[in-house]
Structures are given as structure tokens and as C-alpha cells.
Symmetry: C2
């Protein structure tokens, strides 16, 4: 049987005949109650009790000391990078295999993305390969890591937890310490994912979450900054609310700030969604188990599972074609989409996009290979029932 | 009688004894219906029919050929400036009397605000004074206006329609043409305001609206770009949605883009609010008329009325103290706020804020004078009934 047909039948055995998108939100909790309450209060904008509550609920769920709710994940990452000290002319190490927002946030700081290769097991940054690379191309000057060929400061490293699977955080922290780099986590895809029992996004100096409509939980548009640092949390709150100093009536702003605060209306949705997060993640695990059983017999493809010592939120289920089958990817995508199972490949690697073609990079052979072999298949929590 | 007491009594005669904020939204239309419909559709995020509809409704209301809904007014202005060609090291002429977002949007482009004085009648940019100033400090080089002392290109001029009152647009257009400047309108405060029968924000190359919670209508957080230029509209849509090229499954982005699209959830609120805009403006006109009658007897203060040939939305009602009474401003603010009538002075002029203290500026004597004499008093559309 053709591989595309085999894959189609495996998905069919799990979710049956129906037309489904890659990922859609579900509103089966108190969404409507909270939205109505928000509307009745007239506080729909940048001030209101749902914003505060959403932040406290996020802190409770993630274990982060501080959560600051903002308009989206891109804004969260922008501010996290800026407050960590990323400035014009810096370089920032980011995975070449990521959504474009990771690179854009670096650009907004006037800095340059420097692309890093991935490892097979997590699809995230390969810490060992990066260490060997940095030993070769960088030198330490005082507390700075300097790119020997560009002369620029390599200021930070931004692991991204691909499709919800945590990167190899322990090793990445070691690299960041050994080379004097700030660690900022792009946890846009990984709310509900844990590395050795600790929530992703809480290991680095700061972390960024996303609540876009395609994520595990949504606020319409939204994101959050996580940090355990009191000073940075205060700075983040200040700079995301136009850097206005508190005063009864005066409008005094003490630095260039941003209009990045999450509106109360969106936070109301978020509070209801967060209450359902454990059930959603349970459904997604259940879906993974069913897919795994269905794909077990297909030798040319592997369903990606959570890394060792990790709990993944299984945001997007991902198939990995064997190397010898990579040329069949588009045929698979064609059939699945045609049959109503919305599926897509990984993002085009960032170093191949026009705005980032000239950025520095290490050998990216693993990313180039993964990008031709990954297929994300329907992953919504509503596809199967929660087991809790 | 003390001036503060006189002013208090005048306000009391209009709105009675109650505790009121400066401006609050009212949700008396189909807000609940549309929010529920949005939630039921599951399309709460960056794609959905309410975003499209809100844009079409805005085009109809304003007469702009294109409206592009974005996350807030700051984002709208940022993109409008960027697409007009404002780049690093440019200067942009903006009123010193404005909310900080006007200057911040210039900063986000890597450009420098160049502060301009206001005129009494509109509180907006004084076109004649600006013309005389530019003749003195600038020279034309090809199609560029060069600041003779800094050597930088003065790229654009950004009139802001203060508290909803249209600036002197005809004269400003002439200045922009004579000195080769792009005209971008900061119409954040002026939805529903018209200059010679045409909606504010539709005269320049691009215009920016805001739907923050304190504005005449709100989407929680939100804004829109207005333009009559097809090419710029296409560019604005593209760059505010991460510059992703349309494709069934590929994620190809052809430039550094932004995550600035308004979520469908917020647009749902906007559609309902826009339906009520004529009534809201009628209420605000009615409130102005009642305040005007009440303040008519107080010689030391003037209620600011719409400029000649203009229809103002009367977003914020503004009192102007006579010059000899400016030292009584804080006493008035103290009493009004203490008695429950939330009131505030104009913004601290932008050239006095720490991040903008060193920016170039013309003589700003009028702004400095206005800023010590303006008091905004309670202005919500819900304070009095609509007459339509």
C-alpha cells in the first residue's frame, strides 16, 4: 500500500470520517459566564479583575513567581529579550526550526538571529552540537561571548519547545552558563509541558507563553511573560503598560514603553480556558496514545513522543517520515488535506526565509532533514474524550 | 466664589451628585449576541467573520477605501509610519501635546520625534507657525526635507486630533506638500469626527484609529489603519499578519512582519459598538451643549468647542482656564476628583518626558501654556441621553 494511504487509514482508525482542522479551541467551561461578567463590569480593556486573576492562575499552574499577561506570544518574547538586555547589533541564538515569531522578536530588538541546529529526540536545540560550535566560533571577553567572525556580542539563547516537547533544558542551561548567555525560553507551544517536573518557561531568566487561537488554550490573541525575578517582573509590567508612572491624574512615562497589556476581555476567556487545561491535556495525551497504536505498524513513519523525563502537552501531534521516505511528504499532505484531515509540514526553516537568509548559522543538517520529514496531523483536544 | 467651586457646581448642574470616571464604555447594543456568536463559532482569534465585518463597517462609516483592524492604536500608527517609509535615523514632526503613543510609534521605527507647537483653536499642530519654522530650519534636497542642524531627513508629519477635535487639515496638507513630507493622521481620539464633511484619518497617506477602553467605542484593546491607497492597504494586511504568503500548508514569510491582527473576539465587540456610534456621538454632543450652558457664566474658564467647519466627536470634554488662572488648575483637579468627578489635566507635553527630553523641537510656548490650563472633565456618552 502507498505510504500516504497507510497514514490516512491510521488517522481514520482514530478519528473516523470527518473534516477536521489541525487544531481548534474548545469552549466547554465558563467562557460565556466570564465574558458576560466582564462585559457587565464595563472593564473590557487594559484594567480589570480578569487580567489579575489570569496572571495569578498562570503563576499557580506554572509555578512561576510572576506571570505578566500581554497581547500575544510575540510581544511576550520581544519584552523578555529586551529586558534581558538584548540590544541593537547583538546576536541571539535561536533554533532554525521554529515559527517566524522567534526570529521576529529578535529583530524588533535590533539584534540578529543566529541559527542553531536541532536534535532528533526533542526537535529542539542540540546542546552538545551547539557547545562544540561555540567553542570554535566564539571567544569570551570579560562577561561577554563574542562571535569571532562578526565581532558582535552573542547575548542570549532562546530554546523553543517544539510542538510542546521540552528541549534538553539541563544541557542548555549548562551551555548558557559556560558561555555567558542569557537563557530565554520560547514556551509559546508548551503550556502544560514539564521538564523533570518543572513547567517549561520557568527555567530561563524569562519565558514566553502564547494563547493564540491555535494553541492548547486561547484568549483570542494573547501571551504571557513568565519570570522568577522580582525586578524583571516589575520592569515587564511597567514597560508593557506604556511605562506610565502611577499617579492620580498625571501622564508621566519614564521610558519608551509598549501598549502590550492583555485586555480584560481576552483574560476573561483565558481564566475559563485555564480551568479546563488539565482535561485538555489529558485528551491530547489520549489522542497521542490512540495515534501511537495506529501508527505502530507503519514502518516508514514514527509518531513523535515526549522526551525522557518530560511530560509534553502534545500540542501538535507530529509524524516523522524515515529519511528514505522524505520525498513522499507532499503526497501524504495532499491526500490528508484532500480527505479532510488538515495537516501541514513543519515551518520552512528560518534560515531559508527571505528576511533571514543572510543571518549567521551553524551547520543545520538536522533541521534541514527534519523540516522535510515532519508532518503535523489533527491534534485538537476535542477529537477524543479526556480520561479525567 | 472660588473657581474650583464654581466649576464643581457647573458640572453638578449637568450630571448631578454621583461618582463618575472620566470616560467609560457602554454596552447597550448587540455586544452579548455577537460575543456569543463568536464563541460558538470557535473563531475567536486572528481569523473570523467579525474581523472582516468590522473592517467593512469601518470603511463604510469613515469613507476610507480600506480599514485594517489591529491590536491597538499604537500598532496602527507604528505600521502606518513604517509603510509610509519612516526608517531609522529619520525625524518625524509630531505635536508635543499628545499621548505618548504618538512618540513611541516613531521610536519603534528607529526614528526621532521632532516636536511641534499647537494652536489655540484646535489644540492641534499650528500649521502657520510650523511653516515659518520649517522654512528656517530645513532645506530641500531632491525630494527630501533635510533638517539643516541634524542633517537627518524629516520624513513625515503626524497631526493628532486632540480630544476628537480635528486639526487644521487643509493647511497641514499644504505644509506637507510644500516641504515633501508624508502626512499620517493620528486619529486615535477622533472616530466620528469630520473635517469639512470628511472623516478624520482619511486625509493623509494613512491614518490610525484606537478602540481602547477609554475611547468613544471600544474593542477591549484595538485599533485600525485607514488608507485610500490599495497598495498600502495590501502591504498593511500582509505585514500585520506576520508577512505570511498565502499557501495551503507552507509557512513562508517574505519580510519581518508583526503579530498585530485584531482577534475576532475583539472585533465582535467592535461590530456591536460601531452600530451604536451615532447615538454615542449624539449623547456626547448633547453633553457638550449642557456643559456649555453651565460654563457660560464662568468667566475664568472656556469649554473647548469644535473648530470651524468641523464636526467633533467630543471624545473628551475639555475646559481651558484663562492664563491668569493657570495656578488654580491643581486645586480644581483636587476638588473635582475628591467629589467623585474624575478629571485630569492634559498629558505632560512629550518634550518634557525623560525618553524624549533630548529630541529636537520648535518653540513650544503654546503647548506649554495649554498643558497648564486644560482640564478634561467627565465625558462618557452614558452621562446624558442621546437626542437621536
Amino acid at each position: 500500500m502507498e505510504l500516504s494511504k497507510e497514514i490516512y487509514l491510521a488517522i481514520h482508525s482514530v478519528i473516523g470520517s470527518r473534516s477536521v482542522v489541525l487544531h481548534e479551541p474548545e469552549f466547554t467551561g465558563k467562557e460565556w459566564d466570564y465574558l458576560k461578567e466582564c462585559l457587565d463590569s464595563t472593564f473590557v480593556s487594559s484594567v480589570g479583575k480578569f487580567v489579575e486573576r489570569f496572571e495569578r492562575d498562570l503563576e499557580k499552574f506554572t509555578g512561576a513567581r510572576h506571570a505578566i499577561a500581554v497581547v500575544n506570544g510575540t510581544a511576550a518574547l520581544h519584552i523578555a529579550l529586551k529586558l534581558s538586555g538584548v540590544v541593537s547589533n547583538d546576536e541571539v541564538l535561536i533554533p532554525a526550526l521554529s515559527f517566524v515569531a522567534t526570529a521576529n522578536a529578535v529583530s524588533y530588538c535590533g539584534a540578529t538571529p543566529h541559527f542553531v541546529d536541532s536534535e532528533d529526540s526533542t526537535m529542539g536545540i542540540d546542546a552538545n552540537k551547539l557547545r562544540i560550535y561555540l567553542e570554535e566560533i566564539s571567544r569570551q571577553e570579560g562577561q561577554f561571548c563574542i562571535n569571532k567572525s562578526t565581532g558582535r556580542i552573542i547575548r542570549a539563547i532562546v530554546p523553543m519547545h517544539t510542538f510542546g516537547h521540552p528541549s534538553d533544558i539541563d544541557q542548555l542551561i549548562k551551555v548558557s552558563k559556560d558561555f555567558n548567555l542569557f537563557l530565554i525560553e520560547d514556551a509559546a507551544e508548551s503550556i502544560g509541558s514539564f521538564y523533570k517536573g518543572r513547567h517549561t518557561g520557568t527555567f530561563g531568566l524569562m519565558g514566553a507563553l502564547s494563547f493564540n487561537g491555535n494553541k492548547t488554550i486561547t484568549t483570542g490573541g494573547g501571551g504571557a511573560i513568565l519570570t522568577n525575578d522580582d525586578f524583571l517582573a516589575t520592569r515587564a509590567r511597567h514597560i508593557t503598560t506604556t511605562a506610565k508612572l502611577p499617579h492620580k491624574w498625571e501622564y508621566r512615562h519614564d521610558e519608551v514603553g509598549y501598549n502590550y497589556r492583555m485586555p480584560n476581555l481576552n483574560a476573561a476567556l483565558g481564566c475559563a480556558q485555564l480551568e479546563q487545561l488539565p482535561q485538555k491535556i489529558s485528551s491530547k495525551r489520549n489522542l497521542f496514545n490512540l495515534y501511537q497504536a495506529a501508527f505502530d505498524q507503519i514502518k516508514s513513519v514514527k509518531l513523535i513522543s515526549e522526551p525522557h523525563n518530560c511530560i509534553s502537552n502534545y500540542w501538535l501531534q507530529a509524524l516523522l517520515l524515515n529519511t528514505e521516505n522524505e520525498q513522499e511528504r507532499d503526497e501524504v499532505l495532499q491526500l490528508l488535506n484532500q480527505e479532510g484531515y488538515m495537516s501541514r509540514p513543519a515551518w520552512i526553516p528560518l534560515h531559508k526565509l527571505p528576511p533571514y537568509k543572510l543571518c549567521p548559522r551553524m551547520d543545520l543538517s538536522k533541521v534541514n532533514s527534519l523540516a522535510t520529514r515532519i508532518i503535523n496531523i489533527p491534534s485538537s483536544s476535542g477529537l477524543v474524550k479526556s480520561l479525567i
